[in-house]
């Protein structure tokens, strides 16, 4: 089996983000690393974040930094990845790509302990970069420019220290003196040697300054001093005239200012009132903002609270360090303060957000200061605060993030054209069930009923220079309706259009006159109101029209073409006639190219399954230039100019190619390239769009011409990041459409369907999925679907949180306390109340209060996805949490389908996995599947992590035991068990009499159940120890699995062994008793091996298009969705493996990781090809 890997949704989580001006000038941009993808984002004028560029780098990005050479206008990007190389990138605005400026190899590839790449630090003046590893190694590269002002990089200078763990590094701002880098280091050499534990207790973190001597080209340890043992993060403090220099050391509960020859200035980080005393407060992300006269830091804690840190200093002396509560937003992986007054927050889990600063926290608020620091016998006196509503920030945009996808199922529950993807996303209070549909989201602006069933709609401007459209013209079977667009849209009769006849086409012609083509003639309405009518000769009628601004071609019944042009005076003049062999099915003229008088090409589709290109040049007018035969009569034609190559933002520098698109009657969209000079057609491609013949319309997307194809569902063909994309719209099927532009809606579409006129805009271009989110209470774990009842049943559990009632009580208490003005801002609370009384502190924003780590909260939810309503929510009591779920039909039909839920009470992972009790709950469905009722609860002796129905019984993986249960009156009854599994069973799939069991650490085991002997036994297992995170049964002999390290693999039992077992009357039992290599007698073969580079959390077998082949769809922790498609022919395999090979050679990955090595990061890649973006 060979598979083709295709990423459907790029990772949506963000690992780290940096901001700067990467395209040069004053524009602020953000570069985000999403694991294996590097994106460039820019907030537009409306404050919406736009993705300008997205590059898959085939490697794991671990750190990013930006720097600017002195006096330069743009920032460079430094990438620390798993490639064992340092890579410096430059954003090329013209080509819209990242140019690799430098790539220097320093070590082995992979995320290793002593290979740098984990940390990056930049000298604030852009003279040097330090790249560090978790342990020992740190390398410094000197950056400079050569005579041609190009960036140069030196050979590496070592700043290694063995037996030392590095927690963080940063550059120290010391103006134009020798660059200095600071690092938090911990030496473990003595602790490793001392069995008494004294050395380990005394092990002390140090803050070390490394100085790069630019004259000697040498790095030396300049200064090293003890630092708080909770230190985890360093932040550069401005220096060299802008500030006191030095660093901020963020430690657990403290922020400390340190510099060489300066006493420590320490302040406590304020704590939330409800935080348990044993928990520390750790800073997880930081940002510094510097203006000419002042600077401040924003530090975010692990609970989401942002503090503003300011330093009170005279020159180099820091007198006071103040930490003031700023605002609370969801926990981020990176904070970026943009100079334009925005804060970009890349959330750890859930949607990312862009905030605008309303204030910079100058108002009084809870504040901790170094000068008021009190040391008591129990340590330093803490400062408390209560989170409040956003005061300094206001959210203006958010980017959807699926991270983490916990479980996913693909099913056509709503009976739509394509199946929906149901995915459980997010964590804690920010979790949600998201229903993904392939397609672009559409926002409907207006729907209005019309007096009849319209057949067509157009929009026209009155003048070529007008910004907005003037009229919407709707054609019915025997009439035409004209609507004028203004403040409102209303019918008018003074437009000059003939309203007693249907229309075939309405458009602007010349500079300022309108043209209406109706079956018996052409009506030309001049700007001053004069009307010229051209009537068809005899009784022939016009059947088809093609026009652009200066040219009109009409086809009369019988197949005669008449060609008109607009002359210098604005008159429409007949130029040429041409007799076609038969009736014309469709016509189109390419738009007039810039600076030309006419377009050269006319495309004519005929019922004899051909498309002809005719010339409109005066020299060879109406000569057939080329002919293309197609599979079915064409229904609609459209010329579309596309900047095929990767262009700049406007793409103007690149030659465009002209494409002829044809919608055929069999539902296929056919596309060919038209040669700009000779009109020859080449490179034909076709794609099935739907059951109806696609009608093609030209609309405007982002100021460029795009194509709307209306088949049984609408599709949009447009250019995104230099690529032409054809994607479906999530909207109902439409009859006829036209672009629409008005005051309220700059780039819309007006369309008719049924008897309604619809106006809509297309949003979030470039996205593959359109999602509907339903918020949940706790981290969702697993879910099951009931296809018949169309219900979703899911389990949610969270560790270290309070139950809903406890939270309510605590919240009430804290508001009473706030009445006493503990924060000193009772006024603000009052304001808050009248704004949003029901939800003063949304958990989504502030997170759940933390409790002791041994406490669990959990619930079982039944949800109707159509109405998005929860019909039943059972909160588990007594520290019990649910981990597995399945529906089961027991032998006796008394109850019908039942729900089994596996739970554990008081589960602890640390120091050793333990639990108080574990249960399997059996629930009965009531009220048409909407409500659950507990039937009984059975105590079991291990945590049931997997449940599955098997032959009218329940199979449960209870710890390392596989057990078969039957339903009893009061409890489940044990029928049979097998205790030979190595660790813990996490997945069970069944097919006929085979059971495929996935073990947490030891991959798959194939079992068989012998009914006559009532015995479960393992007849085959895998040879590779795999930490299984997801499993999916593929066929009788094959299962697909994913491991913790980001590999997807398929394990298969070879055909002869499988046959042997099936034919053996003992079912291989005799052989089983022998065993092999401490396991089962037969071994599975791994037939597919592929490193995804992301923890795969769910696998699903499905086909995404009706009638399409089945493929494996996976969802990952970073929020990406991908598909693995099996190849059907050997030729395809050959073609794609060769293509992949050539791409590897000609186009190596951006960040220097070898593609083959990346895909083989843990096991050699086998039988997988993958898509490259630039194809």
């Amino acid at each position: 089996m060979y598979l083709y890997s295709l990423t459907l949704q790029q990772p949506t989580g963000i690992i780290c983000a940096i901001n700067g001006s990467f395209s040069g000038g004053k524009v602020q941009e953000i570069v985000v690393a999403r694991g294996k993808v590097l994106d460039l984002l820019r907030p537009d004028d409306n404050g919406k974040l736009q993705t300008l560029l997205s590059v898959e780098i085939f490697g794991a990005i671990r750190s990013l930094a930006q720097f600017r050479l002195t006096g330069a206008q743009k920032d460079y990007i430094v990438v620390g990845s798993d490639s064992g190389r340092i890579v410096i990138l430059d954003y090329n605005k013209e080509k819209n790509c990242f140019d690799k400026v430098h790539q220097e190899t320093f070590g082995k590839s992979g995320c290793r302990r002593i290979v740098p790449g984990q940390y990056l630090a930049i000298d604030p003046k852009g003279r040097a970069v330090m790249i560090g590893a978790c342990e020992k190694q740190k390398l410094v590269y000197v950056l400079n420019r050569d005579t041609a002002a190009r960036l140069t990089i030196s050979s590496p200078l070592e700043a290694h220290k063995s037996h030392t763990i590095t927690f963080s590094i940063c550059g120290v701002d010391c103006g134009f003196d020798n660059p200095i880098f600071a690092a938090i280091e911990l030496d473990y050499s003595e602790a490793d040697q001392d069995p008494t534990g004294q050395a380990a207790n005394e092990a002390q973190k140090h803050l070390t300054f490394y100085e790069l001597d630019l004259g000697l080209n040498h790095v030396s340890r300049k200064w090293s001093e003890q630092v708080d043992n909770g230190a985890n993060l360093l932040v550069t403090v401005p220096g060299g005239g802008d500030g006191p220099s030095g660093v901020l050391v963020c430690a657990e509960n403290f922020v400390i200012y340190k510099n060489q020859g300066h006493p420590d200035v320490r302040a406590v980080i304020p704590r939330r009132v409800d935080l348990p005393a044993e928990r520390g407060v750790l800073i997880v992300s930081a940002a510094m903002h510097k203006q000419k006269t002042m600077f401040f830091f924003l530090l975010q804690t692990e609970y989401g609270d942002i503090f503003k840190v300011t330093l009170d200093h005279d020159n180099d002396r820091v007198n006071e360090l103040k930490i003031k509560y700023f605002d609370t937003i969801p926990v981020t992986s990176s904070l970026c303060v943009l100079k334009s007054g925005f804060l970009f927050a890349s959330s750890e889990f859930g949607n990312h957000a862009l905030y605008q600063f309303q204030a910079i926290g100058d108002d009084p608020d809870v504040e901790a200061s170094s000068s008021t620091l009190m040391e008591t016998e129990e340590g330093f006196q803490p400062v408390f605060f209560q989170p409040r509503k956003l005061k300094n920030l206001v959210r203006i945009d958010q980017i959807e993030s699926l991270m983490p996808i916990m479980d996913m199922k693909i099913v056509n529950l709503f009976e739509e054209e394509t199946p929906q993807i149901f995915s459980l996303c997010g964590r804690g209070p920010r979790s949600s069930l998201r229903i993904l549909r392939p397609g672009l989201a559409v926002s409907e602006m207006a729907v209005s009923q019309l007096p009849g069933v319209p057949s067509a709609v157009w929009t026209v401007k009155k003048n070529v220079n007008d910004e907005f459209d003037a009229y919407i013209v709707v054609s019915f079977a025997n009439a035409t309706l004209v609507l004028s667009i203004g403040e409102t849209v209303e019918e008018v009769s003074d437009s000059g259009f003939l309203d007693t006849t249907p229309s075939l086409s309405v458009s602007l012609i010349g500079d300022d006159s309108l043209m209406q083509v109706h079956p018996s003639g052409i009506r030309h309405i001049r700007e001053d109101g004069r009307i010229n009518e051209w009537r068809t000769p005899g009784k022939r009628t016009i059947v088809k029209v093609g026009s652009n601004r200066l040219q009109v071609v009409i086809a009369l019944s019988g197949g005669e073409l008449i060609y008109f042009e607009v002359d210098m005076t604005g008159q429409l003049m007949e130029v040429e006639k041409h007799e076609m062999s038969g009736d014309v099915a469709c016509l189109d003229i390419a738009p007039v190219p810039e600076g030309r008088q006419r377009s050269r090409f006319l495309a004519v589709g005929s019922y004899d399954n051909t498309i002809r290109i005719l010339s409109l040049d005066p020299d060879d007018c109406m000569q057939v230039l080329s002919l293309q035969s197609v599979s079915s009569p064409p229904e609609s034609l459209l010329f579309l100019e596309v900047q095929a190559s990767v262009g700049g933002e406007d793409g103007a520098d690149h030659p465009a190619s002209l494409f002829l698109n044809a919608g055929l009657q069999n539902g296929v969209l056919f596309r060919t390239v038209v040669d700009m000079n000779g009109g020859q057609l080449s490179d034909a491609r076709s794609r099935f769009l739907g059951l109806r013949a696609p009608k093609l319309f030209s609309i405007v997307v982002r100021g460029r011409r795009a194509m709307l194809c209306l088949s049984s569902r609408p599709w949009l063909g447009y250019i995104h990041q230099g690529h032409f994309l054809l994607t479906p719209l999530s909207y109902e099927s439409l009859e006829f459409a036209a672009s629409f532009s008005s005051d309220q809606c700059a780039e819309g579409v007006v369309a008719v369907a049924g008897d309604a006129l619809r106006v809509f805009t297309i949003e979030r271009l470039g996205e593959t999925f359109n999602e509907t989110a339903i918020p949940l209470r706790y981290t969702p774990r697993r879910f099951v679907l009931q296809p018949k009842k169309k219900m979703v049943i899911m389990i949610e559990s969270d560790q270290g949180a309070y139950t809903a009632e406890e939270r309510e009580a605590a919240k009430k208490e804290c508001f009473e306390a706030a009445g006493n003005s503990e924060n000193g801002n009772a006024e603000q609370m009052e304001n808050g109340e009248d704004e949003d009384d029901s939800d003063p502190l949304s958990d989504e924003q502030y997170g759940y209060p933390k409790s002791e780590s041994g406490r669990w909260v959990s619930c079982i939810r039944v949800l109707d996805p159509r109405t998005m309503q929860t019909t039943c929510l059972l909160e588990l009591q007594d520290n019990e949490a649910a981990f597995s779920i399945c529906t089961v039909n027991f032998h006796d039909k008394e109850h019908g389908a039942l729900l089994a839920v596996g739970t554990a009470k008081g589960l602890q992972f640390w120091p050793k996995k333990s639990f108080e009790a574990a249960y399997i709950h059996i629930y009965k469905f009531k009220e048409d599947g909407k409500v659950l009722e507990l039937l009984h609860k059975t105590q079991v002796d291990g945590v049931p992590l997997a449940l599955c129905q098997f032959q009218g019984r329940l199979l449960a993986g209870i710890g390392s035991v596989l057990r078969l249960y039957d339903l009893g009156k009061k409890r489940l009854l044990r029928k049979c068990e097998n205790k030979l599994f190595p660790n813990s069973i996490t997945a069970i799939h069944t097919y006929r009499d085979r059971i495929y069991v996935g073990d947490m650490q030891e991959s798959f085991h194939y079992c068989k159940y012998r009914r006559d002997e009532n015995q479960l036994y393992i007849f085959a297992d895998d040879t590779v120890p795999r930490w299984l995170t997801a499993a999916q049964h593929v066929d009788f002999d094959t299962v697909a699995g994913a491991d913790k390290f980001g590999n997807i693999y398929f394990a298969r039992l070879s055909q002869d062994v499988s046959d042997e077992i099936e034919e053996d009357p003992t079912g291989g039992k005799i052989k089983w008793e022998q065993g092999k290599l401490n396991g089962a007698p037969n071994k599975l073969e791994e037939i597919v091996q592929f490193h995804v580079g992301d923890v795969v959390s769910c696998l699903q077998k499905a086909s995404l298009i009706p009638g399409g082949g089945e493929c494996i769809i996976y969802g990952t922790v970073m929020g990406s969705v991908g598909a693995m498609l099996p190849f059907t022919s050997r030729d395809d395999v050959d073609f794609f493996s060769h293509l992949e090979m050539h791409l590897r050679q000609e186009f190596p990955p951006l960040c220097g990781r070898d593609h083959m090595a990346y895909r083989s990061a843990y096991f050699p890649v086998k039988a997988g090809c993958n898509r490259w973006r630039l194809m």
């Binding site: 690992i15 694991g35 794991a60 671990r62 798993d82 995320c111 290793r112 302990r113 002593i114 790449g117 984990q118 590893a133 978790c134 342990e135 020992k136 063995s162 763990i165 927690f167 911990l186 473990y188 602790a191 490793d192 040697q193 001392d194 069995p195 008494t196 534990g197 380990a200 092990a203 985890n232 750790l282 997880v284 692990e302 609970y303 926990v331 992986s333 750890e348 889990f349 991270m403 983490p404 916990m406 964590r427 804690g428 981290t779 969270d798 560790q799 270290g800 780590s853 992972f909 640390w910 995170t1029 913790k1044 390290f1045 980001g1046 992301d1094 923890v1095 959390s1097 990952t1116 922790v1117 970073m1118």
Partner: protein, 87 residues
Amino acid sequence: MQASDRFNINSQLEHLQAKYVGTGHADLTRFEWAVNIQRDSYASYVGHYPMLAYFAIAENESIGRERYNFMQKMLLPCGLPPEREDD
């Protein structure tokens, strides 16, 4: 040191051990081996962000806290070293 010593297997090993932390030798104890494996694992968890996120979900902690915990555990990953027998 003679010129031929450079190609001697022992000196090559010594060079490797100095350059690559964790390279084993004949007298490696079970404890030292385990410590190395654990430190490598923690470094790998910290380096692979999706893995950190996976742990963070399991323990319901923030990713930053999880990273800090793993770095801290690199100090004594397997507890205290055993008493040396030859002392």
